[in-house]
Protein backbone atom coordinates (compact mmCIF):
# COMPACT_ATOMS: atom_id res chain seq x y z
CA UNK A 1 0.00 0.00 0.00
CA UNK A 2 2.82 2.37 0.87
CA UNK A 3 4.52 1.77 -2.46
CA UNK A 4 1.97 3.52 -4.64
CA UNK A 5 1.64 7.24 -4.02
CA UNK A 6 -1.96 8.32 -3.43
CA UNK A 7 -3.69 10.51 -6.02
CA UNK A 8 -4.32 13.21 -3.47
CA UNK A 9 -4.46 14.01 0.18
CA UNK A 10 -6.18 16.55 2.37
CA UNK A 11 -4.22 18.81 4.64
CA UNK A 12 -5.41 21.61 6.78
CA UNK A 13 -3.75 24.99 6.72
CA UNK A 14 -4.42 28.62 7.53
CA UNK A 15 -3.88 31.54 5.19
CA UNK A 16 -3.67 35.22 5.75
CA UNK A 17 -5.73 37.56 3.66
CA UNK A 18 -6.74 41.20 3.99
CA UNK A 19 -10.29 42.03 4.92
CA UNK A 20 -12.04 44.91 3.26
CA UNK A 21 -14.44 46.54 5.68
CA UNK A 22 -16.94 48.77 3.96
CA UNK A 23 -18.63 51.71 5.61
CA UNK A 24 -20.60 52.93 2.61
CA UNK A 25 -22.45 51.52 -0.35
CA UNK A 26 -21.37 54.39 -2.57
CA UNK A 27 -19.54 52.56 -5.36
CA UNK A 28 -17.87 55.65 -6.71
CA UNK A 29 -16.48 56.58 -3.31
CA UNK A 30 -15.30 53.02 -2.71
CA UNK A 31 -13.50 52.82 -6.01
CA UNK A 32 -11.90 56.19 -5.53
CA UNK A 33 -10.59 55.40 -2.06
CA UNK A 34 -9.38 51.98 -3.12
CA UNK A 35 -7.44 53.47 -6.00
CA UNK A 36 -5.76 55.89 -3.63
CA UNK A 37 -4.79 53.01 -1.37
CA UNK A 38 -3.45 50.99 -4.27
CA UNK A 39 -1.41 53.91 -5.51
CA UNK A 40 0.26 54.08 -2.11
CA UNK A 41 1.39 50.45 -2.30
CA UNK A 42 0.71 48.96 -5.71
CA UNK A 43 2.83 45.83 -5.11
CA UNK A 44 1.11 45.02 -1.86
CA UNK A 45 -2.35 44.96 -3.36
CA UNK A 46 -1.60 43.40 -6.73
CA UNK A 47 -3.65 40.23 -7.27
CA UNK A 48 -4.43 40.22 -3.60
CA UNK A 49 -7.15 37.94 -2.28
CA UNK A 50 -9.72 39.86 -0.31
CA UNK A 51 -12.48 39.15 2.13
CA UNK A 52 -15.36 41.54 2.02
CA UNK A 53 -16.75 42.44 5.41
CA UNK A 54 -20.24 43.90 5.32
CA UNK A 55 -21.01 43.93 9.03
CA UNK A 56 -20.61 47.68 9.51
CA UNK A 57 -22.52 48.44 6.37
CA UNK A 58 -25.42 46.27 7.35
CA UNK A 59 -25.47 47.84 10.79
CA UNK A 60 -26.11 51.13 9.02
CA UNK A 61 -28.81 49.46 6.94
CA UNK A 62 -27.08 50.51 3.77
CA UNK A 63 -27.96 48.02 1.10
CA UNK A 64 -25.14 46.94 -1.18
CA UNK A 65 -25.27 44.86 -4.30
CA UNK A 66 -22.68 42.13 -3.77
CA UNK A 67 -22.42 41.34 -7.46
CA UNK A 68 -21.55 44.95 -8.18
CA UNK A 69 -18.86 45.23 -5.51
CA UNK A 70 -17.33 41.95 -6.63
CA UNK A 71 -17.16 43.19 -10.21
CA UNK A 72 -15.61 46.43 -9.07
CA UNK A 73 -12.96 44.70 -6.98
CA UNK A 74 -12.09 42.29 -9.75
CA UNK A 75 -11.79 45.14 -12.24
CA UNK A 76 -9.18 46.92 -10.16
CA UNK A 77 -7.15 43.76 -9.56
CA UNK A 78 -8.41 42.09 -6.38
CA UNK A 79 -9.58 38.52 -5.98
CA UNK A 80 -12.55 38.49 -3.64
CA UNK A 81 -12.39 35.11 -1.86
CA UNK A 82 -14.90 35.50 0.88
CA UNK A 83 -17.76 37.40 2.40
CA UNK A 84 -18.57 37.88 6.03
CA UNK A 85 -21.43 39.60 7.75
CA UNK A 86 -23.53 39.69 4.64
CA UNK A 87 -27.31 39.70 4.76
CA UNK A 88 -29.39 36.94 3.26
CA UNK A 89 -29.53 38.51 -0.16
CA UNK A 90 -25.78 39.21 -0.25
CA UNK A 91 -24.92 35.69 0.89
CA UNK A 92 -27.14 34.32 -1.83
CA UNK A 93 -25.36 36.41 -4.42
CA UNK A 94 -22.00 35.28 -3.04
CA UNK A 95 -23.04 31.67 -3.37
CA UNK A 96 -24.01 32.24 -7.01
CA UNK A 97 -20.58 33.75 -7.58
CA UNK A 98 -18.96 30.74 -5.83
CA UNK A 99 -17.52 32.97 -3.13
CA UNK A 100 -17.30 31.27 0.27
CA UNK A 101 -19.36 32.70 3.08
CA UNK A 102 -17.80 33.12 6.50
CA UNK A 103 -20.13 33.11 9.43
CA UNK A 104 -19.20 35.90 11.78
CA UNK A 105 -17.75 34.88 15.06
CA UNK A 106 -17.55 37.25 17.96
CA UNK A 107 -14.01 38.47 18.14
CA UNK A 108 -12.08 41.54 19.03
CA UNK A 109 -11.95 44.35 16.53
CA UNK A 110 -9.48 43.80 13.76
CA UNK A 111 -6.47 46.03 13.79
CA UNK A 112 -7.05 48.99 11.53
CA UNK A 113 -4.43 50.75 9.56
CA UNK A 114 -4.55 54.50 9.59
CA UNK A 115 -6.59 55.28 12.67
CA UNK A 116 -6.46 58.95 11.82
CA UNK A 117 -8.24 58.51 8.55
CA UNK A 118 -11.20 57.11 10.32
CA UNK A 119 -12.86 60.38 11.20
CA UNK A 120 -11.73 61.90 7.98
CA UNK A 121 -14.19 60.34 5.64
CA UNK A 122 -16.12 57.40 4.51
CA UNK A 123 -15.32 55.16 2.72
CA UNK A 124 -12.74 53.44 4.85
CA UNK A 125 -10.50 50.64 3.80
CA UNK A 126 -9.26 48.56 6.62
CA UNK A 127 -6.67 45.88 6.30
CA UNK A 128 -6.60 43.27 8.93
CA UNK A 129 -5.02 39.90 9.16
CA UNK A 130 -7.50 37.16 9.53
CA UNK A 131 -7.35 33.50 8.75
CA UNK A 132 -9.73 32.19 6.18
CA UNK A 133 -10.63 28.68 5.37
CA UNK A 134 -10.60 27.72 1.69
CA UNK A 135 -14.10 26.28 1.99
CA UNK A 136 -17.06 28.17 3.38
CA UNK A 137 -16.99 27.51 7.09
CA UNK A 138 -19.94 25.42 8.17
CA UNK A 139 -21.97 26.70 11.08
CA UNK A 140 -19.96 26.05 14.20
CA UNK A 141 -21.58 23.21 16.05
CA UNK A 142 -19.79 21.55 18.96
CA UNK A 143 -18.61 18.06 18.01
CA UNK A 144 -19.38 15.37 20.55
CA UNK A 145 -16.59 13.04 21.61
CA UNK A 146 -16.61 9.51 20.24
CA UNK A 147 -16.59 6.79 22.89
CA UNK A 148 -15.49 3.25 22.09
CA UNK A 149 -15.67 0.38 24.53
CA UNK A 150 -14.83 -2.52 22.17
CA UNK A 151 -11.22 -3.51 21.50
CA UNK A 152 -9.81 -1.98 18.30
CA UNK A 153 -8.33 -4.93 16.44
CA UNK A 154 -5.53 -5.10 13.92
CA UNK A 155 -6.70 -3.67 10.60
CA UNK A 156 -9.53 -1.60 12.03
CA UNK A 157 -9.63 2.15 11.55
CA UNK A 158 -11.49 4.59 13.72
CA UNK A 159 -12.01 8.22 12.81
CA UNK A 160 -13.50 10.79 15.14
CA UNK A 161 -14.33 14.32 14.09
CA UNK A 162 -13.93 15.48 17.67
CA UNK A 163 -12.22 13.83 20.61
CA UNK A 164 -11.79 10.07 20.68
CA UNK A 165 -12.06 8.13 23.91
CA UNK A 166 -11.23 4.43 23.90
CA UNK A 167 -11.66 2.22 26.95
CA UNK A 168 -10.26 -0.98 25.42
CA UNK A 169 -6.95 -1.90 23.95
CA UNK A 170 -5.83 -0.74 20.52
CA UNK A 171 -4.03 -3.60 18.78
CA UNK A 172 -0.93 -3.43 16.65
CA UNK A 173 -1.98 -2.76 13.07
CA UNK A 174 -5.02 -0.73 14.10
CA UNK A 175 -5.31 2.97 13.31
CA UNK A 176 -7.13 5.55 15.40
CA UNK A 177 -7.53 9.11 14.20
CA UNK A 178 -9.17 12.17 15.69
CA UNK A 179 -9.45 15.80 14.78
CA UNK A 180 -9.26 16.48 18.50
CA UNK A 181 -7.59 14.66 21.39
CA UNK A 182 -7.18 10.92 21.77
CA UNK A 183 -7.61 9.16 25.09
CA UNK A 184 -6.83 5.46 25.41
CA UNK A 185 -7.55 4.09 28.87
CA UNK A 186 -5.79 0.85 28.07
CA UNK A 187 -2.83 -0.39 26.04
CA UNK A 188 -2.07 1.50 22.84
CA UNK A 189 -0.23 -0.75 20.38
CA UNK A 190 -1.47 0.58 17.04
CA UNK A 191 -1.16 3.96 15.38
CA UNK A 192 -2.66 7.02 16.98
CA UNK A 193 -3.06 10.29 15.07
CA UNK A 194 -4.50 13.27 16.90
CA UNK A 195 -5.28 16.70 15.48
CA UNK A 196 -5.40 15.30 11.96
CA UNK A 197 -6.84 18.57 10.63
CA UNK A 198 -3.88 20.49 11.89
CA UNK A 199 -4.92 21.14 15.46
CA UNK A 200 -1.49 21.48 17.07
CA UNK A 201 -3.05 21.77 20.51
CA UNK A 202 -4.42 18.24 20.32
CA UNK A 203 -2.95 15.67 22.70
CA UNK A 204 -2.76 11.93 23.05
CA UNK A 205 -3.25 10.31 26.44
CA UNK A 206 -2.79 6.62 27.08
CA UNK A 207 -2.38 4.22 29.96
CA UNK A 208 0.23 2.01 28.37
CA UNK A 209 2.26 3.33 25.48
CA UNK A 210 3.42 0.65 23.05
CA UNK A 211 2.29 2.44 19.89
CA UNK A 212 3.64 1.74 16.44
CA UNK A 213 3.27 5.39 15.55
CA UNK A 214 2.03 8.53 17.25
CA UNK A 215 1.24 11.76 15.47
CA UNK A 216 -0.13 15.17 16.33
CA UNK A 217 -1.09 17.53 13.52
CA UNK A 218 1.18 15.67 11.11
CA UNK A 219 4.30 15.53 13.26
CA UNK A 220 4.96 11.92 14.08
CA UNK A 221 7.23 9.43 15.79
CA UNK A 222 7.48 5.71 15.12
CA UNK A 223 7.96 3.11 17.82
CA UNK A 224 11.66 3.02 16.99
CA UNK A 225 12.00 6.62 18.11
CA UNK A 226 10.02 6.17 21.30
CA UNK A 227 11.95 6.56 24.47
CA UNK A 228 12.48 3.37 26.43
CA UNK A 229 11.62 5.20 29.63
CA UNK A 230 8.11 6.04 28.60
CA UNK A 231 7.52 2.70 26.92
CA UNK A 232 4.75 0.71 28.58
CA UNK A 233 3.96 3.64 30.85
CA UNK A 234 1.01 5.99 31.20
CA UNK A 235 1.84 9.11 29.20
CA UNK A 236 0.53 12.22 27.57
CA UNK A 237 1.87 13.37 24.24
CA UNK A 238 1.73 16.92 22.99
CA UNK A 239 3.36 19.21 20.47
CA UNK A 240 5.88 21.89 21.33
CA UNK A 241 7.61 23.79 18.51
CA UNK A 242 6.96 20.94 16.10
CA UNK A 243 8.49 18.42 18.49
CA UNK A 244 6.44 15.66 20.02
CA UNK A 245 6.86 15.66 23.77
CA UNK A 246 6.09 12.42 25.56
CA UNK A 247 5.62 12.94 29.21
CA UNK A 248 4.86 10.39 31.85
CA UNK A 249 1.69 10.94 33.80
CA UNK A 250 2.61 10.40 37.38
Amino acid sequence: MLNTPPALEFKSSTFFAPILILYTHDMVAIEQTLQEKINLAPEFFRDSPLIIDLRELNKLNQDLDFVQITQLLRRIGFFPVGIRGGNEQQNKQARTLSIPIDTVREQGNPITIGEAQKQEAVPEVTVAKESISPIAAPPQTPVAATLITQPIRSGQRIYASGDLIILSQVSAGAEIMAEGNIHVYNTLRGRALAGVHGNTAARIFCFDLQAELISIAGDYKTSEDLNKQTYKNPVQIYLQNHALIIKEIA
Binding site: Q150, I152, R153, G155, Q156, G173
Partner: protein
Protein backbone atom coordinates in the same frame (compact mmCIF):
# COMPACT_ATOMS: atom_id res chain seq x y z
CA UNK B 1 -32.50 -23.09 15.46
CA UNK B 2 -28.95 -24.28 15.15
CA UNK B 3 -26.03 -22.52 16.75
CA UNK B 4 -23.54 -21.58 14.02
CA UNK B 5 -19.87 -21.84 14.96
CA UNK B 6 -17.09 -20.53 12.74
CA UNK B 7 -13.59 -21.92 13.16
CA UNK B 8 -11.29 -19.21 11.89
CA UNK B 9 -7.76 -17.82 12.22
CA UNK B 10 -6.69 -15.62 9.34
CA UNK B 11 -3.39 -17.46 9.09
CA UNK B 12 -3.11 -20.84 7.37
CA UNK B 13 -1.77 -24.05 8.82
CA UNK B 14 -2.67 -23.30 12.43
CA UNK B 15 -5.15 -26.15 12.78
CA UNK B 16 -8.56 -24.87 11.67
CA UNK B 17 -9.61 -28.02 9.86
CA UNK B 18 -8.26 -30.30 12.59
CA UNK B 19 -10.19 -28.23 15.12
CA UNK B 20 -13.37 -28.17 13.04
CA UNK B 21 -13.33 -31.94 12.65
CA UNK B 22 -12.55 -32.49 16.34
CA UNK B 23 -15.16 -30.19 17.80
CA UNK B 24 -17.86 -31.25 15.33
CA UNK B 25 -17.19 -34.84 16.33
CA UNK B 26 -17.14 -33.87 20.00
CA UNK B 27 -20.50 -32.10 19.77
CA UNK B 28 -22.04 -35.03 17.91
CA UNK B 29 -20.60 -37.49 20.43
CA UNK B 30 -22.21 -35.40 23.18
CA UNK B 31 -25.56 -36.13 21.55
CA UNK B 32 -26.08 -33.00 19.45
CA UNK B 33 -26.90 -33.35 15.79
CA UNK B 34 -24.04 -31.51 14.11
CA UNK B 35 -23.15 -30.52 10.57
CA UNK B 36 -19.66 -29.45 9.58
CA UNK B 37 -19.17 -27.42 6.40
CA UNK B 38 -15.93 -27.02 4.48
CA UNK B 39 -15.74 -23.43 3.23
CA UNK B 40 -12.31 -23.94 1.67
CA UNK B 41 -13.66 -24.23 -1.87
CA UNK B 42 -10.94 -25.40 -4.22
CA UNK B 43 -8.71 -26.72 -1.43
CA UNK B 44 -10.96 -29.37 0.02
CA UNK B 45 -9.44 -31.01 3.12
CA UNK B 46 -12.09 -31.57 5.75
CA UNK B 47 -13.29 -34.76 4.06
CA UNK B 48 -9.78 -36.21 4.38
CA UNK B 49 -9.50 -35.37 8.07
CA UNK B 50 -12.88 -36.98 8.66
CA UNK B 51 -12.06 -39.94 6.43
CA UNK B 52 -15.01 -39.61 4.09
CA UNK B 53 -13.21 -38.50 0.93
CA UNK B 54 -14.22 -41.61 -0.97
CA UNK B 55 -17.90 -40.98 -0.39
CA UNK B 56 -18.08 -37.44 -1.76
CA UNK B 57 -20.58 -37.22 -4.61
CA UNK B 58 -22.09 -33.75 -4.39
CA UNK B 59 -20.65 -30.75 -2.60
CA UNK B 60 -21.48 -27.39 -1.00
CA UNK B 61 -21.35 -25.54 -4.34
CA UNK B 62 -23.72 -28.05 -5.97
CA UNK B 63 -26.19 -27.31 -3.19
CA UNK B 64 -25.75 -23.54 -3.51
CA UNK B 65 -26.33 -23.78 -7.26
CA UNK B 66 -29.35 -26.02 -6.82
CA UNK B 67 -27.70 -28.92 -8.65
CA UNK B 68 -28.18 -31.22 -5.67
CA UNK B 69 -30.33 -31.26 -2.57
CA UNK B 70 -28.83 -30.87 0.86
CA UNK B 71 -29.68 -34.47 1.70
CA UNK B 72 -27.84 -35.70 -1.36
CA UNK B 73 -24.70 -33.74 -0.49
CA UNK B 74 -24.52 -34.34 3.26
CA UNK B 75 -22.30 -37.27 4.20
CA UNK B 76 -23.06 -39.12 7.41
CA UNK B 77 -19.96 -39.87 9.46
CA UNK B 78 -19.18 -43.53 9.90
CA UNK B 79 -18.05 -43.12 13.53
CA UNK B 80 -20.96 -41.10 14.78
CA UNK B 81 -24.41 -41.04 13.22
CA UNK B 82 -25.20 -37.55 14.54
CA UNK B 83 -22.36 -35.99 12.54
CA UNK B 84 -22.80 -34.88 8.93
CA UNK B 85 -20.22 -33.41 6.59
CA UNK B 86 -20.87 -30.98 3.76
CA UNK B 87 -17.69 -31.08 1.68
CA UNK B 88 -16.29 -28.24 -0.40
CA UNK B 89 -15.96 -28.39 -4.15
CA UNK B 90 -12.44 -29.12 -5.32
CA UNK B 91 -12.95 -27.96 -8.90
CA UNK B 92 -14.30 -24.49 -8.18
CA UNK B 93 -13.01 -21.43 -6.37
CA UNK B 94 -14.29 -19.11 -3.66
CA UNK B 95 -16.22 -16.99 -6.16
CA UNK B 96 -18.73 -19.81 -6.41
CA UNK B 97 -19.82 -18.93 -2.87
CA UNK B 98 -22.55 -16.32 -2.59
CA UNK B 99 -23.97 -14.71 0.49
CA UNK B 100 -27.48 -15.54 -0.59
CA UNK B 101 -26.57 -19.18 -1.35
CA UNK B 102 -24.65 -19.74 1.88
CA UNK B 103 -27.47 -18.14 3.85
CA UNK B 104 -30.01 -20.42 2.20
CA UNK B 105 -28.00 -23.59 2.97
CA UNK B 106 -27.44 -22.53 6.59
CA UNK B 107 -31.14 -21.72 7.03
CA UNK B 108 -32.09 -25.14 5.75
CA UNK B 109 -29.53 -26.89 7.97
CA UNK B 110 -30.70 -24.84 10.96
CA UNK B 111 -34.10 -26.49 10.90
CA UNK B 112 -32.65 -29.91 11.47
CA UNK B 113 -29.33 -29.53 13.30
CA UNK B 114 -28.30 -28.31 16.74
CA UNK B 115 -24.84 -27.11 15.73
CA UNK B 116 -23.32 -26.08 12.42
CA UNK B 117 -19.54 -25.85 12.35
CA UNK B 118 -18.11 -23.71 9.53
CA UNK B 119 -14.51 -24.56 8.70
CA UNK B 120 -13.13 -21.28 7.37
CA UNK B 121 -10.35 -21.08 4.79
CA UNK B 122 -7.25 -19.05 5.60
CA UNK B 123 -7.08 -15.42 4.57
CA UNK B 124 -9.60 -12.61 4.86
CA UNK B 125 -11.15 -12.97 1.44
CA UNK B 126 -14.56 -14.08 0.30
CA UNK B 127 -14.45 -17.65 1.61
CA UNK B 128 -13.37 -16.59 5.09
CA UNK B 129 -15.79 -13.67 5.16
CA UNK B 130 -18.76 -15.83 4.20
CA UNK B 131 -17.76 -18.54 6.68
CA UNK B 132 -18.00 -16.06 9.54
CA UNK B 133 -20.82 -13.87 8.23
CA UNK B 134 -23.67 -15.91 9.68
CA UNK B 135 -21.87 -17.12 12.82
CA UNK B 136 -23.12 -16.98 16.40
CA UNK B 137 -19.86 -18.16 17.96
CA UNK B 138 -16.28 -17.98 16.74
CA UNK B 139 -13.45 -20.30 17.67
CA UNK B 140 -10.30 -18.32 16.92
CA UNK B 141 -7.52 -20.81 16.36
CA UNK B 142 -4.12 -19.33 17.17
CA UNK B 143 -0.58 -20.70 17.35
CA UNK B 144 1.75 -19.29 19.98
CA UNK B 145 3.74 -17.17 17.56
CA UNK B 146 3.55 -13.48 16.67
CA UNK B 147 2.29 -13.68 13.09
CA UNK B 148 -0.53 -16.02 14.03
CA UNK B 149 -1.52 -13.79 16.95
CA UNK B 150 -1.62 -10.70 14.76
CA UNK B 151 -3.68 -12.46 12.09
CA UNK B 152 -6.10 -13.64 14.76
CA UNK B 153 -6.36 -10.09 16.01
CA UNK B 154 -7.19 -8.95 12.49
CA UNK B 155 -9.79 -11.69 12.22
CA UNK B 156 -11.36 -10.55 15.48
CA UNK B 157 -11.74 -7.10 13.99
CA UNK B 158 -13.54 -8.56 11.00
CA UNK B 159 -15.72 -10.71 13.26
CA UNK B 160 -16.86 -7.63 15.14
CA UNK B 161 -17.50 -5.51 12.08
CA UNK B 162 -18.39 -7.62 9.05
CA UNK B 163 -20.73 -10.26 10.40
CA UNK B 164 -24.48 -10.37 10.02
CA UNK B 165 -24.82 -9.77 13.75
CA UNK B 166 -22.70 -6.63 13.46
CA UNK B 167 -24.65 -5.40 10.45
CA UNK B 168 -27.96 -5.94 12.18
CA UNK B 169 -26.72 -4.41 15.44
CA UNK B 170 -27.45 -7.64 17.30
CA UNK B 171 -25.35 -9.07 20.13
CA UNK B 172 -21.84 -9.55 18.80
CA UNK B 173 -20.43 -12.94 17.86
CA UNK B 174 -19.14 -14.70 20.97
CA UNK B 175 -15.41 -15.12 20.48
CA UNK B 176 -13.32 -17.90 22.02
CA UNK B 177 -9.60 -18.54 21.90
CA UNK B 178 -8.14 -21.91 21.03
CA UNK B 179 -4.39 -22.00 21.40
CA UNK B 180 -3.13 -24.85 19.24
CA UNK B 181 0.24 -26.49 18.60
CA UNK B 182 1.29 -25.34 22.05
CA UNK B 183 4.62 -26.74 23.17
CA UNK B 184 5.09 -26.09 26.89
CA UNK B 185 8.80 -26.98 26.74
CA UNK B 186 9.45 -24.43 24.01
CA UNK B 187 7.39 -21.83 25.86
CA UNK B 188 9.54 -22.42 28.92
CA UNK B 189 12.72 -21.93 26.93
CA UNK B 190 11.31 -18.72 25.46
CA UNK B 191 11.06 -19.99 21.88
CA UNK B 192 7.29 -19.76 21.86
CA UNK B 193 4.84 -17.18 23.14
CA UNK B 194 3.23 -18.12 26.41
CA UNK B 195 -0.50 -18.14 27.06
CA UNK B 196 -0.11 -14.83 28.93
CA UNK B 197 1.71 -13.26 25.97
CA UNK B 198 -1.09 -14.26 23.63
CA UNK B 199 -3.83 -13.21 26.01
CA UNK B 200 -2.18 -9.84 26.57
CA UNK B 201 -2.83 -9.08 22.92
CA UNK B 202 -6.08 -10.94 22.25
CA UNK B 203 -7.74 -10.98 25.68
CA UNK B 204 -10.37 -13.57 24.81
CA UNK B 205 -12.14 -16.28 26.72
CA UNK B 206 -9.83 -19.30 26.55
CA UNK B 207 -11.63 -22.43 25.48
CA UNK B 208 -8.58 -24.63 25.55
CA UNK B 209 -4.93 -25.21 24.85
CA UNK B 210 -4.19 -27.98 22.38
CA UNK B 211 -0.65 -29.28 22.93
CA UNK B 212 1.58 -30.00 19.97
CA UNK B 213 1.14 -33.72 19.51
CA UNK B 214 2.23 -36.36 17.06
CA UNK B 215 -1.18 -37.91 17.35
CA UNK B 216 -2.70 -34.99 15.39
CA UNK B 217 -0.74 -35.84 12.26
CA UNK B 218 -1.34 -39.56 12.50
CA UNK B 219 -5.05 -38.98 13.12
CA UNK B 220 -5.24 -36.69 10.07
CA UNK B 221 -3.51 -39.25 7.90
CA UNK B 222 -5.81 -41.98 9.15
CA UNK B 223 -8.90 -39.83 8.59
CA UNK B 224 -10.05 -40.15 12.18
CA UNK B 225 -10.64 -36.91 14.13
CA UNK B 226 -8.03 -36.66 16.88
CA UNK B 227 -10.72 -36.23 19.52
CA UNK B 228 -11.49 -39.94 19.11
CA UNK B 229 -7.94 -40.75 20.22
CA UNK B 230 -8.74 -40.55 23.90
CA UNK B 231 -5.24 -41.55 24.91
CA UNK B 232 -3.55 -38.60 23.24
CA UNK B 233 -3.15 -35.23 24.94
CA UNK B 234 -4.52 -33.41 21.89
CA UNK B 235 -7.60 -35.66 21.89
CA UNK B 236 -8.19 -34.98 25.57
CA UNK B 237 -7.63 -31.28 25.08
CA UNK B 238 -10.28 -31.17 22.35
CA UNK B 239 -12.67 -33.13 24.56
CA UNK B 240 -12.13 -30.44 27.23
CA UNK B 241 -12.79 -27.73 24.67
CA UNK B 242 -16.14 -29.23 23.68
CA UNK B 243 -17.13 -29.79 27.30
CA UNK B 244 -16.25 -26.18 28.21
CA UNK B 245 -18.14 -24.87 25.20
CA UNK B 246 -21.19 -26.83 26.33
CA UNK B 247 -20.97 -25.17 29.73
CA UNK B 248 -18.96 -27.60 31.81
CA UNK B 249 -16.26 -26.19 34.12
CA UNK B 250 -12.94 -27.91 33.55
CA UNK B 251 -9.54 -26.65 34.68
CA UNK B 252 -7.09 -25.79 31.93
CA UNK B 253 -4.23 -28.20 31.46
CA UNK B 254 -1.19 -28.71 29.22
CA UNK B 255 -0.06 -25.14 30.06
CA UNK B 256 3.09 -25.98 32.02
CA UNK B 257 6.08 -28.05 31.05
CA UNK B 258 6.24 -29.97 34.29
CA UNK B 259 4.77 -33.41 33.85
CA UNK B 260 2.15 -33.25 36.54
CA UNK B 261 -0.12 -35.84 38.00
CA UNK B 262 -2.68 -35.53 35.24
CA UNK B 263 -0.22 -36.79 32.71
CA UNK B 264 0.75 -39.74 34.92
CA UNK B 265 -2.87 -40.38 35.72
CA UNK B 266 -3.97 -40.49 32.09
CA UNK B 267 -0.75 -41.99 30.84
CA UNK B 268 -0.91 -39.45 28.02
CA UNK B 269 1.52 -39.80 25.21
CA UNK B 270 2.88 -37.07 23.06
Amino acid sequence: MARIIVVTSGKGGVGKTTTSAAIAMGLAKAGHKTAVIDFDVGLRNLDLILGCERRVVYDFINVINGEASLNQALIRDKNCNLLYILPASQTRDKDALTEEGVGRVLDELSKDFAYIVCDSPAGIEKGANLALYFADDAFVVTNPEVSSVRDSDRMLGILSSKSRRAERNEDPIKEYLLLTRYDADRVKSGEMLSLEDVQEILSLELLGIIPESKSVLSASNAGIPVILDEKSEAGQAYADVVARYLGEKRPHRFIDAKHGFLRRLFGGRK
